[in-house]
């Protein structure tokens, strides 16, 4: 077992608790996708943690909680035959052509997304995530030829996944850092991460600002503790996104 792996093993428990900070969290995130032993131990820790609430003094939820969930569930997903109920009578002649058109549009969108992702499939869940509603940012290698990244942001605008390929593994003491740059404002960090021996990484991201407020999204190389503002050139970057 390498010294590096021993150090990573020390952090599996804290990682399972979501209690690790950067850059160790990013290193663990990249490591568990490649190490069966640590992944297995992580799964066991997560299962144990998932069972801890069973040991708490039980509390019954209020009855109105289910009423509210039921009402919201019906609003968010129409019942069978609901399409006809919610479309005014005068427009019902357009129901089926509209539905076919929407389905064709969604299919085209998914095909486009999958084509974008499949150029260099960087992570195990990218294809599944790409089919979900959300936004896709494609970063291209301006500072590193051949490097690229895909940032998939969920509909809540806050949770995302970053898939990277083509960046070289860094020496100890250095890290990669993601930035969200507003127009005329200080760049905001999206976290640090490391790539594996193949130059790839798959990282969960908390998006710090709205994509609508960001002017540039970029990745730089920084000291291992991360920086408060980019000190290196943009290695991969994006200036436009949907």
């Amino acid at each position: 077992m390498t010294e590096d792996h021993k150090q990573l093993q020390e952090h599996v428990a804290a990682y399972a608790l979501d209690s690790l900070e950067e850059p160790e969290r990013a290193r663990m995130e990249a490591h568990v996708g490649t190490c069966e032993r640590c992944t297995s131990r992580l799964d066991e820790y997560r299962a144990v943690l998932g069972s801890l609430p069973i040991g708490l003094e039980p509390s019954e939820p209020p009855a109105e909680a289910w009423t509210a969930i039921q009402a919201a569930a019906r609003r968010r997903r129409p019942a069978r035959g609901g399409i006809e109920r919610i479309i005014p009578t005068t427009w019902r002649w357009a129901t089926w052509p509209l539905a076919v058109g929407l389905a064709a549009g969604m299919l085209a969108w998914n095909v486009w997304l999958l084509r974008e992702i499949s150029v260099r499939p960087p992570g195990p869940d990218v294809e599944a995530l790409a089919r979900r509603p959300g936004r896709l940012v494609i970063l291209t290698g301006t500072g590193v030829r051949g490097a690229s990244a895909r940032l998939l942001v969920a509909v809540d605008g806050r949770h995302g996944h970053l898939a990277i390929a083509g960046l070289r593994p860094l020496l100890p003491g250095r890290t990669y850092q993601l930035w969200f740059v507003p127009a005329s404002a200080t760049p905001v960090t999206g976290g640090t991460f490391a790539v594996d021996a193949g130059g790839r990484a798959w990282v969960s991201i908390t998006v710090p600002i709205s994509l609508d407020d960001a002017h540039v999204i970029a990745i730089t190389e920084e000291p291992s503790s991360g920086s408060s503002t980019p000190t290196g050139d943009y290695l991969v970057e994006a200036h436009t996104w949907r």
């Binding site: 979501d18 209690s19 799964d43 069973i54 040991g55 939820p61 909680a65 969930i69 968010r76 979900r132």
Partner: protein, 206 residues
Amino acid sequence: MSDSGSRDRRPRAGTGLDEPADLDLLSRMRGGDEVALEVLYKRYAGLVFTLALRIVGDRELAREVLQDAFLRCWDGRETYDAGRGRVPWWLIGIARNRAIDLLRSRPHQARLREGEILPGNARTSDPSPSEAADAVGLRRAITSALENLPMAQRRAIELAYYGGRTQSEIASELGEPLGTVKSWTREAMERLRISLWPLIDPKREE
């Protein structure tokens, strides 16, 4: 309304019998089956609410977390990955994340919470009439495993799991070096794993 599982709302230890039923419910929910949603809710809402209440310390906020967690499962904002363990653990993970987000975004609620008596761990008391024997056994085992941890290790785990604290925040709060907290966390999780994993391993019934 049918409930193919037991009346007990808690995941049974290692039986494996609830697994296909939970997966079937999720599959039906993806198709818009509200009955499946209600069955899943009746099965796990108590557990999810209990966890949420422990974290946020307020019944109204805990209700928000509960509703948000189930609706996120319903509308597909959260998708289940069988490789990550059983359905109830996944649900608990969703609820915990939402509860900690809420805790962090409402600091005044957190300050109120510090002054309240939180629902603590269950004592190894007599079971309620509706609890199945294996659920009682698991609850006792979990309580016992936590009580057997050295107090410092237990506190580190609880601050991380229920408080959403980072290792540095825990070190600062307890007035201990970061390395010490990391050791406590690692040792505590390993003790819990040794005690509890044999009881909850999904492959136990194979």
